[in-house]
Symmetry: C2
DNA sequence: TTGTACGCGTTATCAG
DNA sequence: CTGATAACGCGTACAA
């Protein structure tokens, strides 16, 4: 590999001069153009490429940011990642990617590796239960800016970017309500996830506002799942139970798209049609949502925005002169530590106006 | 940030001793346990974290590998990425992720950044047309191992890992044939993609073997597309044309899953049923394939394997003492430069035995 | 323009 | 046997 010294030798100057010229440092003004040209030519000819490792060591910053994601195969991850990587590119930062796979030891090992590599910031894409106080403490100690994406931490104290789940759920329920649905089934997310609680709260709020009574017999909870795809079969199973149950419903609102897709499968395999016999609404707007039949109506999380917002926040913090950690100017804890991005209702084919003629549910009772 | 010297000061020894002890270097044998303990304790207490930048500079290898992907949002990418990252983790290498977004300048800029960062190897996930001789020359000059994934380069000379497209296509056609289909429509991939040609060749080979005549009126070509999702609507559109055409068909084989999904939409919106009226077969087995209704039968590319195979190959090359590039021991060009992984037929709900009672196509003519 | 110290960890050499 | 000293890898920056 060609070094500065090689170029210096080739152009008959000291390596300091080469550095100065190639970087157009202030001192370059005192170097005659002829010399500059000679140096440039030599660098060009030899194919000199500055060693960023050395540069980073000298400058005390690596120009790298760590991206710690919980599961690369999760469709939510892909979207956020894309936004994050894109924003980093704009700022000439390079991302180091770590796929935790929902595995705690892996998380810790990766974290250590990233810190040793001297990443200047960390974006953590978490949807699960692993991250807790201990890790945060560890991170806080390391003094590097960190932003969580997608899930709020119960303990707080960490900058977080999320979708406004309450607003999203309200949007969704409002949509179903306006289509005329009154008997609505809900597949709630796992208890352990903060998002699940938020979405449910949004549903309750909106229901109250609409004067809609929620029938708890139509509410089921997803079990905590290790990976995104298992919620498909969970959704399918729960929906089968719902369909086999005594309470009819004309619409179903799922915790997320994967669950909704599972629910749709159950509805269709039961011989019912979507949306005619049962509307189905998801949450997330993953890549697969528009591809099925019918295409899934859903609440879109602005994944790319979540990613880029997180990156920009990290970058911003990196600029700040390191202030004492734990002490936040605003006074109140969590003040200014949370950014909520607005979700968006995406109406596709899986939700429709309630059919008066064809009663929902199995039509076994009522109607 | 705590350095070796800090630990040395705290434990009253020279920083060299600290290094020796912490790394358990050979010389550590001569250091009494008491001193070792003191050093370890100090390192622990101060939270010392070795600076990998300095280490890399010294050792002349960064322990990083570049992952250059054409489009993070492409479902094919996600799968391969996962495999690649996973394999890197096993070897304690960290991936730097670069999302090229099918943009040539971005490719070049990222490539330069990665080389300056002194990545020790490069895995390039390419499905498109940008990569050409110029870039390869540039890379060859840099002497770092590089492996292409997913698409073969026309010019050759670069190590490549791909799915055996010919075998996959044959598998697919064989499957449809055995279900009784004789009138089969094909949505071929864009001309520019090498994969497309391979898959078509596989179809021809298998057709010959089965003594099946291919009706060219049932063959359509996808236009070159900028992103994965546009092939959904392309597939949909082409299928509409096919359905409106004079030649009936009972099955359709698409270039990839996205196209197949588009085709399925077209078939369903025309009032036909899948697979009863028309079987549909995809290629890839992307995440969305099993989620629709009916779930898509497809030829699976072993994406994770492709990724990990590429990584392992790069890693392997990195071990080798750098031999003169361009000269490959096997003699013949491209000998040992290509690894083909076997695809797998995944039968789900979108393909079925041909229905004798309900003729395929629009039933307007024939039958 | 150049010499030189520096950033940080590694390792060979050397003195006690 | 114990541990310190110094040079090195590469680019940067300041004094000369």
């Amino acid at each position: 590999m060609i070094t500065l010294r090689d170029v210096a030798r080739a152009s008959q100057v000291s390596h300091a001069s080469v550095s100065i010229v190639l970087n157009n440092a202030p001192l370059a003004r005192y170097i005659p153009d002829a010399t500059k040209a000679r140096i440039l030519a030599a660098a060009q000819r030899l194919g000199y490429r500055p060693n960023q490792l050395a540069r980073s060591l000298r400058h005390q910053h690596s120009h790298m940011v760590g991206l710690l994601v919980f599961d690369l195969l999760d469709p939510f991850c892909a979207g956020v990642l894309e936004g994050a990587v894109s924003s980093l590119y704009e700022s000439s930062y390079l991302p180091i990617l770590a796929d935790v796979r929902n595995d705690r030891p892996r998380f810790e090992r990766y974290l250590e590796m990233l810190l040793q590599r001297r990443v200047e910031g960390l974006v953590v894409l978490a949807n699960w239960l692993f991250i807790d106080i201990a890790m945060i403490a560890d991170l806080a100690g390391s003094r590097i800016p960190i932003v969580l994406v997608g899930t709020r931490l119960a303990q707080g104290g960490v900058r977080t970017v999320i979708t406004d789940n309450v607003a999203g759920a309200r949007l969704g329920l409002g949509h179903l309500f306006e289509l005329g649905h009154r008997q609505i089934a809900f597949l709630r997310g796992p208890h352990a996830l903060a998002d699940a609680a938020m979405r449910w709260r949004g549903i309750q709020t909106e229901a109250r506002r609409r004067k809609l009574a929620l029938d708890m017999r139509l509410v089921k909870d997803l079990p905590a799942a290790p990976d995104a795809f298992s919620s498909f079969s969970a959704g399918q199973q729960l929906t089968r139970e719902l369909l086999a149950g005594p309470v009819p419903f004309s619409a179903l609102m799922a915790y997320d798209d994967m669950t909704a897709l599972g629910a749709m499968r159950a509805v269709i395999e039961s011989g019912r049609r979507v949306p005619d016999d049962c509307s189905i609404l998801g949450f997330d707007d993953i890549a697969a949502a528009p591809l099925g039949n019918p295409p899934l109506s859903t609440i879109r999380q602005p994944m790319a925005q979540l990613g880029s917002c997180a990156v920009e926040w990290v970058l911003e913090e990196m600029q700040q002169p390191k202030q004492s950690p734990g002490v936040h100017p605003r006074g109140k804890a969590n003040q200014g530590m949370l950014k909520r991005l607005p979700p968006e209702l995406v109406v596709r084919g899986s939700t429709g106006r309630i059919q008066i003629s064809t009663p929902p549910g199995r039509g076994r009772r009522k109607t």
